[in-house]
């Protein structure tokens, strides 16, 4: 594995659909991106845009009635789609780890922290309970939890939200994964805690060379964190590119709309722009561009066919036939 030179993770045309009573929900519908060793990718979108489902698809954790129907997920060259469960299990938590959104819900309330950490080590390495405990203690120390020995014997409800998320991060770090998928891990926390955790995760990834996918709805979070970002809308990528370019000079009207709705210091006093209308239902998407009905630039041809994801500028892709080229320097 050490000799592998390609990207850590390469997702090609991923489609994850939910087969519900009311019809097929195309939660993820043709998403492609890649992430190199030690890089950080921001996956941005509103709730319901399919960003979390994308994360679960990578780990093979999509629950019925949903499943990956098409596409490839190449992890270090190996396609994870349709791998047997046992193979995926060996990768989960070991080489690819995940951090969830709500720290109050991710730790099992009736099991002690040490139980939950030791089992994560022992699921992948045949080490003694003492060695596993030592690793757990080290991991807690790395995420800045004081007196880890005492903390190991505690139950989740004895921790604050921020502390629990640190524990979850420590669990993710236990087996030194090559990739961490973080699904809005700071959304449920106080702003001050958010900042600390962001900083620490970034530092840890740089130190260990771990790649990171940071899923969020909050553009300001990824601004200081990610190398590249992908913006998702209604199950598809709307735009992707280097973080500064995308945030400073968005190509897609949706990205621009999102940016306009974030309060910022520069434009104090000016009214917040809102994107008019509502996210379309994933069960009955329009024929053309999914954003057309809310887009100020949309014209007739936008509603005829879904625009392809095209490289509009070098290294910058957007799914739009009328991108904001006028803003580009």
């Amino acid at each position: 594995m050490t000799g592998f030179a390609g990207p850590t993770l390469e997702v090609r045309d991923l489609k994850t659909h939910f087969f519900t009573r009311g019809g097929v929900v195309k939660a993820v519908d043709g998403v492609s991106f890649e992430i190199g060793k030690g890089r950080i990718l921001g996956l941005v979108g509103e709730s319901g845009s399919g960003k979390s489902i994308t994360g679960f698809s990578i780990l093979g954790l999509v629950d019925p009635p949903g499943r990956v129907v098409e596409g490839e997920i190449r992890f270090k060259g190996e396609n994870l789609v349709d791998q047997p469960e046992e193979r995926l299990r060996a990768i989960r938590g070991n080489r690819i780890a995940m951090i969830f959104q709500d720290p109050m819900m991710t730790l099992n309330p009736v099991l002690r922290i040490d139980t939950q950490m030791i089992e994560a080590v022992q699921a992948h390495h045949s080490v003694s309970a003492d060695d596993a405990r030592q690793r757990a203690r080290d991991a807690l120390g790395r995420v800045g939890i004081p007196s880890p020995d005492e903390r190991l014997k505690a139950y989740p409800h004895q921790f604050s939200g921020g502390m629990r998320q640190r524990v979850a991060i420590a669990i993710a770090l236990l087996n030194n994964p090559e990739l961490i998928i973080a699904d809005e891990p700071t959304t449920a926390l106080d702003v001050t805690i958010q900042g600390q955790i962001l900083y620490e995760v970034q530092k840890l990834c740089r130190e260990t060379g771990t790649s990171l996918i940071w899923i969020t709805h909050d553009l300001s979070v990824v601004a200081g964190l990610a190398d590249r970002i992908c913006v998702m809308y209604a199950g598809k990528l709307a735009e992707s590119g280097p973080v500064d370019d995308v945030l400073d000079r968005p190509l897609h009207p949706y990205t621009k709309g999102l940016l306009g709705s974030v309060p910022s210091r520069n434009r104090r006093g000016s009214p917040l722009a809102q994107i008019p209308g509502m996210t379309p239902s994933l069960m009955s998407l329009p024929d053309g561009c999914a954003f057309a009905d809310r887009c100020p630039r949309a014209q007739g041809d936008c509603r005829q066919a879904v625009p392809p994801m095209a490289e509009i500028l070098p290294g910058r892709l957007a799914r739009c036939i009328r991108p904001h080229l006028e803003d580009q320097a």
């Binding site: 469960e85 989960r92 139950y155």
Partner: protein, 325 residues
């Protein structure tokens, strides 16, 4: 923990007192105590003497305290029918009932939990639908009729198992039980299965509901994301969580089984306290009724206490609250 125990014990004493008032008022005040305590053959003079001797001419609250004082000494009156202390009659028959109820509890857990787990983990499988349909039938079957059908099929038509009595009683480690002899085991099967069936159906449904609810939780997905094996996720993460509601219900159900043993014992002529109470009701043997009620209240209080303690052992969140409280 000690604070918690003391508080629970005090609550239990209150419940016991309240129940004693209810039982006293119910059996002694609403019914005519003269008819209850004095032989109907007695003449007028004897009756009056007896009324005075028993203190029935005193005010009700005074009578209650006499009743309470006697009860505290373990004297709950003498049975008219057996002419023995009522409490001794109850104690003689209690082991048979506990044996029957205990066997039924074990049976229903051994059958109910695995089937419920299966149905909860694979809700769409045909087997699961079969289990759930079966559990509705088991839940709906009236115990008494089901018992009659057991007797008809297994005792009358097939002749496989005995349908009445407790069989031979063996002694093992100083405990006397019919579970220790083959003949006793043969006798206990039908009544225990009869008693267990409805309870097993309930446990299946409860386990399944708990599993389905727990599987939706984020911590289960997180456990899977850690790469734990399916066995570990189900066996530790799911099971530990459904154990909490299960312990509560099983505790209540043990009490329920002891009470419902009344029906099973009457049908299978099982010599337990349930059969005794039905006979006593039919023969108006009220001291035995009172003794039975007080004993069963005591039994329930003890069971509830055990359940509460177990609960705090299993659920760490409860434990913390009680340390604080």
């Amino acid at each position: 923990m000690t604070v918690f125990m003391v508080r629970r014990l005090m609550q239990s004493v209150v419940v016991l007192l309240v129940m004693s008032v209810i039982v006293f008022l119910g059996v002694f005040a609403i019914g005519n105590p003269v008819d209850i305590l004095i032989s109907p053959d007695a003449d007028q003079l004897e009756r009056e003497r007896a009324i005075r001797a028993l203190g029935l001419d005193r005010p009700l609250w005074e009578q209650y305290f006499v009743f309470l004082a006697n009860a505290a000494k373990g004297d709950l009156g003498r049975s008219f029918v057996f002419n023995e202390p009522a409490l001794r009659l109850i104690f003689e028959r209690m082991p048979a009932t506990l044996e029957l109820a205990g066997t039924a509890v074990v049976l229903s857990l051994v059958v109910g939990i695995p089937l419920g787990l299966y149905a909860g983990l694979k809700p769409q499988a045909a087997t699961s639908k079969g289990i759930m349909a079966g559990s509705i039938v088991g839940f709906s079957l009236p115990t008494f009729w089901q018992g009659l059908m057991f007797i008809m099929v297994f005792a009358v038509m097939l002749g496989w198992l005995p349908s009445t009595g407790r069989g031979q009683i063996g002694t093992f480690l100083g405990i006397r039980s019919s579970l220790f002899t083959l003949d006793g085991l043969a006798h206990v099967i039908l009544p225990a299965v009869n008693l267990a069936l409805g309870n097993a159906a309930l446990i299946i449904r409860l386990t399944r509901a708990g599993v389905r609810e727990t599987l939706l939780q984020d911590y289960i997905k997180f456990a899977r994301a850690k790469g734990l094996s399916h066995r570990r996720v189900v066996g530790v993460h799911v099971l530990r969580n459904i154990l909490i509601p299960l312990v509560t219900v099983v505790g209540l159900e043990i009490a329920g089984l002891i009470a419902f043993a009344v029906v099973t014992e009457s049908i299978f002529a099982w010599p337990g306290m349930g059969k005794l109470i039905i006979d006593s009701i039919n023969q108006l043997d009220r001291p035995v009724m009172v003794a039975y009620l007080m004993m069963i209240v005591l039994l329930f209080i003890v069971i509830n206490l055990i359940v509460d303690v177990l609960y705090s052992v299993i659920d760490p969140r409860v434990r913390l609250q009680d340390v604080k409280g």
